[in-house]
């Protein structure tokens, strides 16, 4: 930690930073209101599944917003970032119009800044720790918006910098899964000179960034540019390949693979196990979003169908629930309703997504929980019974526990229900390795260095955490890369 703080101090003391700080008085900076993200109007955006809602800051907006940052001597914002981006440095680079340098600062520690700028829950991370939030009681610097601005600027400039890679060391590494954990791992290992191959079970590379998060929040083109960047660094991608099935771990070892990073995700949807849940028209958010995002089911050009509903209920209060409910609106639902067992304050979704959903006419039935479903004679759901809840004492998660209100059941007519109450680890990969230690929840057990009970096998992301965020998965990928490098280098010395 001290090395980091000394490094930060050194960077902060650079002449340009000191000069920049003198440009405006503190009071001048703090009196500027936080920028508002330009957006596509709700009536317009709900007509399209693939039109991004946030348009991104203009250069003028970004410059003003960057000038709000005080360039604090103790930048607490960095403590809130799981990958410890040097936030003041990239923000100040924006302020002095060095957008390329701002992007490079981001890429030093984050493999996917254009993605994180869009999907990170900044209000619970960097922005929550911002001086404006903690000390001034004002709206924080829009760090996420600025991150996106710098990353987008670099991408659109056509001058994407490819990070420098160490000379090839000839060591073959396999990354399993192609979501954020794996991509950040692959990037770091490529920088260290390893020969990295990413294996993906689906036909499309990108994991949850492609099958899960809709394009109105994260356009595929943004992800594709990041993938292209990794390819330029020498990372190889293989789709339609399930390690442990298509070929075994031992087969890959025979091919010369020396290290494995398993980041196969939490792709096993949870259901609530309530009566009627297997009726047609009730599906997991994974199924709904996969059909629409990965298989293109909303368009007639594609063969994969997706059920549509007039009244769609989405169960849950996380980002996936918001993605699903907003998707249903875009697919023509007359009523789209979030049914969440706690209150809005406890919703795990990004605040921005909840606000966007509300702007788009999504109804919120909070403090309610489905207890039973009913169907027509063909087995298609037509009604759900919800029980109303009230908040009791805080539970293990620190959030107030929802308690059922006796006799409060209510029936609601619905014809499509999307269950978005979380996911469990995907058992496909662990089941191929009987000697691998897994928890009773099916997550892979790893030490602080992300190493599993099999020394050459490291793991990270949701297969370890059971269901977290893009940025935490990326943090795991980076940590695993550093540890695997240390392990493989040490092993070499011992030979």
């Amino acid at each position: 930690m001290t090395i980091l703080s000394e490094y930060l101090k050194e960077r902060r003391n650079e002449e340009w930073r000191a000069e920049l700080r003198k440009k405006l008085k503190g009071k001048e900076r703090t009196s500027i209101p936080r920028v508002k993200m330009p957006e596509v109007e709700p009536q317009e955006r709900t007509k399209h599944q693939n039109v991004e809602v946030n348009l991104g800051l203009t250069e003028e907006q970004a410059l003003v917003e960057a000038s709000r940052c005080m360039d604090c001597a103790t930048p607490t914002c960095i403590d809130g970032c799981p990958v410890q981006i040097n936030i003041p440095e990239f923000v100040k680079n924006i302020e002095r119009k060095e957008y390329g340098l701002a992007a490079q600062t981001l890429k030093k520690t984050s493999a996917l800044p254009a993605v994180c700028g869009r999907v990170c829950p900044q209000e619970k991370q960097c922005e929550e720790q911002c001086f404006y939030t903690t000390k001034l009681g004002k709206d924080p610097i829009a760090i996420g918006y600025l991150e996106r601005f710098a990353a987008d600027w670099e991408r659109e400039s056509g001058e994407m910098s490819v990070p420098e890679c160490a000379p090839a060391n000839g060591k073959k590494i396999a990354a399993i899964g192609s979501g954020p954990a794996s991509l950040s791992f692959a990037g770091d290992m490529a920088k260290l000179g390893y020969d990295v191959t990413v294996f993906e079970a689906l036909h499309e590379i990108g994991g949850v960034l492609k099958y899960g998060i809709p394009e109105f929040r994260l356009p595929n083109s943004v992800v594709d540019v990041e993938l292209e960047n990794l390819r330029k660094m020498g990372v190889k991608f293989v789709n339609n390949f399930i390690v442990g099935r298509t070929a075994s771990f031992d087969d890959l070892k025979e091919e010369g693979f020396e290290g494995f990073f398993v980041a196969s995700g939490a792709g096993l949807p949870r259901f609530m196990n309530i009566p009627g849940e297997n009726y047609n028209g009730i599906m997991s958010s994974n199924e709904y979003l996969t059909r629409v995002n990965l298989m293109g089911a909303a368009s007639d050009d594609n063969d994969t169908p997706v059920l549509r509903g007039k009244t769609v209920a989405v169960i849950g209060g996380g980002n996936t629930a918001m993605d699903s409910v907003r998707t249903s609106k875009r697919l023509g639902a007359e009523r789209s309703i979030i049914v969440y067992r706690r209150s809005r304050a406890e919703m795990p979704a990004r605040v921005e997504e909840v606000n966007h959903a509300e702007e788009e006419g999504i109804e919120f039935m909070n403090l309610a929980n489905p207890v039973e479903y009913f169907a027509d004679e063909k087995g298609r759901v037509n009604k759900m019974r919800v029980q109303h809840m009230e908040l009791g004492e805080p539970d293990a998660s620190g959030r107030r526990r929802p308690v059922p209100v006796e006799g409060s059941e209510e029936d609601i007519d619905v014809d499509l229900v999307i269950v978005a109450v979380g996911v469990s680890p995907n058992p496909l990969i662990p089941s191929c390795l009987p000697e691998l230690k897994v928890s009773k929840w099916g997550t892979i057990e790893v030490g602080d260095n992300m190493q599993s009970s099999i020394p050459v096998l490291f793991a990270g992301g949701d297969i370890v955490r059971g269901g977290a965020t893009v940025i935490l998965a990326m943090g795991d990928g980076r940590k695993a890369a550093a540890s695997m490098h240390e392990y493989l280098s040490g092993e070499q010395k011992n030979d």
Partner: protein, 287 residues
């Protein structure tokens, strides 16, 4: 060696179709180059394929594999847009995507006498299981059933791995006139059966299961639920087994037939019927 080819071409195999044959008017057999799957597959496993970049992910059980030639055999019945398109592919064409092997393999050991019941296109996934049980030293009696003679597929192959094959047709055009359950019951009454495998239309599996339950014979059924990813991710293939929700793709495709809620399974198979019908009509009007 194959792994290296896959990695260096930066895409998967060619997935080239090397042989194609119609087993009946609506049932097509294709043999596809897939050396890694041919090597790693086990009886009961399935694959998922896509015909084009706009195509559905279609799950199909692997009917046979030739490890030396590096090929797998797939058998599909034309039931909708995607299978119509598949049946139109020719030798030399390549599948856009192919992934597998998926699903749990059949548990095969020496048990004694196996009664293998196959209905219609369900005979295809039954073939590698019958082969496996025969090779493990079991006595295998196969009962193959279909509406009429031309819908009985793979009869020669099944004979190769069965001690006895009984053919049942609805119209009596081949074998004995009657249902699969009648053929099965004849065997059960005749000799001791240690285990039964049933693969075919849901209704056929349901009644076979009811029959073997009456005689207390452990029975496995292999389900053909609707799937999207086939890797446990979506839950479209969920089925109630013993009162618990299971995923056909990762927990199956074979389950204890006596525990399966077949009525729910049949209801769920119809979940996209209207969408499929509309798509099929549109497709057929274009070709």
């Amino acid at each position: 060696m194959h792994i290296q080819t896959v990695i260096s071409t930066n895409s998967n195999f060619m997935n080239r179709i090397v042989d194609k044959e119609f087993l009946s008017e609506n049932v097509v057999k294709i043999v596809v180059e897939a050396p890694l799957i041919a090597k790693s597959r086990k009886p009961g496993n399935f694959i998922i394929l896509r015909i084009s970049d706009k195509g559905e992910r279609i799950p199909l059980t692997i009917a046979a594999a030739d490890e030396e030639k590096g090929t797998i055999t797939l058998i599909a019945q034309k039931v909708g847009v995607s299978t119509e398109k598949l049946a139109k592919m020719e030798v030399g064409d390549s599948l856009h995507d192919l992934v597998g092997p998926l699903g749990k393999a059949t548990e095969i050991s020496k048990i004694g006498t196996i009664l293998a019941c196959g209905g219609g296109v369900g005979i295809a996934p039954l073939l590698p299981i019958v082969e496996g049980f025969k090779k493990a030293g079991n006595r295998v009696i196969s009962v193959l059933a279909a509406r009429s003679k031309d819908l009985i597929i793979l009869e020669d192959e099944m004979r190769k791995w069965s001690d006895e094959v009984i053919i049942m047709t609805d119209d009596g055009s081949h074998g004995t006139k009657g249902l699969v359950t009648e053929g099965a019951e004849m065997v059960i009454k005749r000799e001791k059966v240690d285990e039964c495998i049933a693969i075919g239309p849901a209704i056929m599996m349901k009644f076979t299961s009811l029959l073997t339950k009456k005689y207390d014979i452990p029975t496995q059924a292999s389900l053909n639920s609707i799937m999207v990813d086939g890797t446990g991710m979506c839950g479209a293939c969920r089925v109630t087994v013993g009162g618990k929700t299971k995923f056909t793709c990762v927990d199956g495709p074979e389950f204890d037939a006596h525990q399966i809620d077949f009525d729910e399974m049949m209801m769920r198979l119809g979940g996209y019927r209207e969408e499929e019908k509309k798509d099929y009509e549109r497709f057929m009007s274009q070709v």
